[in-house]
């Protein structure tokens, strides 16, 4: 059965800290891995990764994929209270997107 597992499930840090969120997967016919940020209802897209070892960056956020070890990490440096959210990892195969349980990040002032 296809599955996506995220860790940790929740995390509390202080502003300025750096965090690393993990996503491991076992999915047949892997095509892409996507990261989303969910603050209220709708998840908003962060990154899509298809190739191993190529880092994607957007401001303080970065992500990388390891297709051999079947995982991805999402790094957030110099965290701010606005980074508080649920971070979702999804893996796409030839059809559907399979989501992990999410990591709830709380950044305290």
């Amino acid at each position: 059965e296809d599955k996506v597992v995220q860790s940790p499930l929740s995390l509390v840090v202080h502003e300025g800290d750096t965090v690393t969120l993990n996503c491991s997967y076992e999915v047949t016919n892997f095509r892409s891995l996507l990261w989303y940020k969910q603050e209220k209802k709708a998840p908003t897209f962060l990154f899509m990764l298809t190739s191993s070892g190529i880092e994607k960056k957007s401001g303080r956020l970065s992500s990388i994929l390891d297709k051999k070890e079947l995982f991805s990490i999402l790094n957030i440096t110099a965290t701010q209270t606005g980074d508080s959210a649920v971070y979702l990892c999804a893996v796409g195969n030839t059809g559907k997107l399979i989501f992990g349980q999410g990591t709830t990040l709380q950044v305290k002032p």
Partner: protein, 113 residues
């Protein structure tokens, strides 16, 4: 449209009634997904459309749930004889054919009382 649009944004219904939830995807997006998210939980896959056909409907929890898509655009998720455990946020997403990002609507919060 500019983004994925879902309606209604909130729906309160009595147990046993039928409800219809609508999703209007981004124009030109051929793939459309329905997910359900219960409070504090992750996204539970329900069904996936490619065009008007549904290659994967494995996530529909029971035969009370059905979905259709017409004209390769708007999709409707129907829940018959609603139960309290159906209460959740129902999210719709669309993507271009191929390996691209999926964009989500704002969701419909369904409450069954």
């Amino acid at each position: 449209g500019a983004g994925v649009s879902q309606s209604p944004s909130n729906k309160v219904t009595e147990k046993g009634k039928d409800v219809e939830l609508r999703c209007d995807p981004i124009s030109g997006h051929t793939a459309l997904y329905w997910y359900r998210q219960s409070l504090g939980q992750g996204l539970e896959f329900l069904i996936y459309f490619q065009g008007n056909s549904a290659p994967d409907k494995s996530g529909l929890p029971s035969d009370r749930f059905s979905a259709e898509r017409t004209g390769g655009s708007v999709s409707t998720l129907t829940i018959q004889r609603t139960q309290q455990e159906d209460s959740a946020v129902y999210l719709c997403a669309s993507r271009l054919q191929g390996y691209t990002e999926a964009f989500f609507g704002q969701g419909t919060r369904l409450t069954v009382v």
